[in-house]
Symmetry: C2
Subunit: 169 residues, 2 copies
DNA sequence: AGGATTGTTCAATTGAAAATGAACGGATTC
DNA sequence: GAATCCGTTCATTTTCAATTGAACAATCCT
């Protein structure tokens, strides 16, 4: 690779920047930090797998950010390590998973389900306290509302697999 | 209402606090600020509609927060003004919408669709730029990836109404 | 009219979450 | 075993969105 190319690749060209920004916006909706969007976005438009150092250089982010970002993206199943092309190469390269099914599945598994679960536990505790209230009308009212919360949780749990299935083509 | 009750209502009792916290967690998953969760949560477990001042006093938040929070919740259709009980009362009172269908619908309409729309616009612009690239292989690759993005968008648009319908009982 | 009450707006502040970067560990090569 | 390379960790710093609160309507009451 010649010097001109090195120089060019030290930063994103305008087109790459635009695509990356789309992902930055996208992940913010999901409540994920911008670095996640930048990393995934750059992988998404790169023809070759990229190393951690590539990300650091081209996105101007720290090694720490890149490392943590890749860790999260791996846990989501949104990036995978690229198969090493034969000869001994220490550095690991990453490529994006681009099947929507996989991305949605990972997000649901890692970000949604844990919250649903911890929410259920908290609600159970609350239901227990509520059932011991003295005032019968207050107890009645709270029980109804807690029941409503449980309905929401159930609806959510039921819909998630359907959602995954629908997005699976 | 006597002084003892006034005092008691100046803050949340432990049970109320627990419920409110569930909502605080809940809205954070959705990328909304904690005050939104607090306000909706308190309305959710209150037997009577509450005024802006009630929220300020009981949640220890500023009038500004309460006002802006209520505005967002109203735009989401998650909160509505309670019918005035007869005699002239200037203050407006709020009660929560507790039908999951309505809540999900509002969230999709206000928070999801706008992002999908602005995303589509950006992607169209990018597609235009990409189609003018010199290098044919680069152009080809980018076009494929952009096509993939469009597929995602379409899947999302198609799934949203289904989601609403599924949650509509 | 003037004063009291209710709610909104927005510039300034705060705080929680993200990003940094130095230190570290492990693996590889010479 | 020393030097180098690659990646992780985590205490500190930075950033940016949420919150505050004072000024400002708007409306009501007498």
């Amino acid at each position: 690779m010649n010097q001109a190319q090195d120089k060019a690749n030290e930063s994103l060209d305008p087109l790459e920047r635009q695509v990356v920004d789309v992902f930055v916006d996208g992940v913010r909706v999901l409540g994920l930090p911008r670095s996640i969007g930048e990393i995934y976005g750059l992988l998404f438009i790169s023809r070759e797998p990229l190393s951690l150092d590539d990300l650091v250089i081209r996105l101007h982010i720290s090694k720490g950010s890149a490392s943590q970002g890749l860790r999260l993206l791996k846990s989501l199943g949104a990036v995978r390590e690229a198969a090493q092309n034969g000869h001994s190469e220490r550095r690991t390269y990453y490529e994006p998973a681009i099947e929507l099914k996989r991305l949605v599945g990972g997000f649901i598994r890692e970000q949604i389900r844990p919250h649903l679960k911890s929410g259920s536990i908290k609600i159970d505790r609350i239901a227990k306290s509520a059932s011991q209230l003295e005032n019968p009308e207050q107890r009645q009212f709270l029980s109804e509302r807690i029941e409503r919360l449980n309905q929401w949780m159930n609806s959510g749990s039921k819909v998630l697999p359907i959602l995954q299935k629908l997005l699976g083509q």
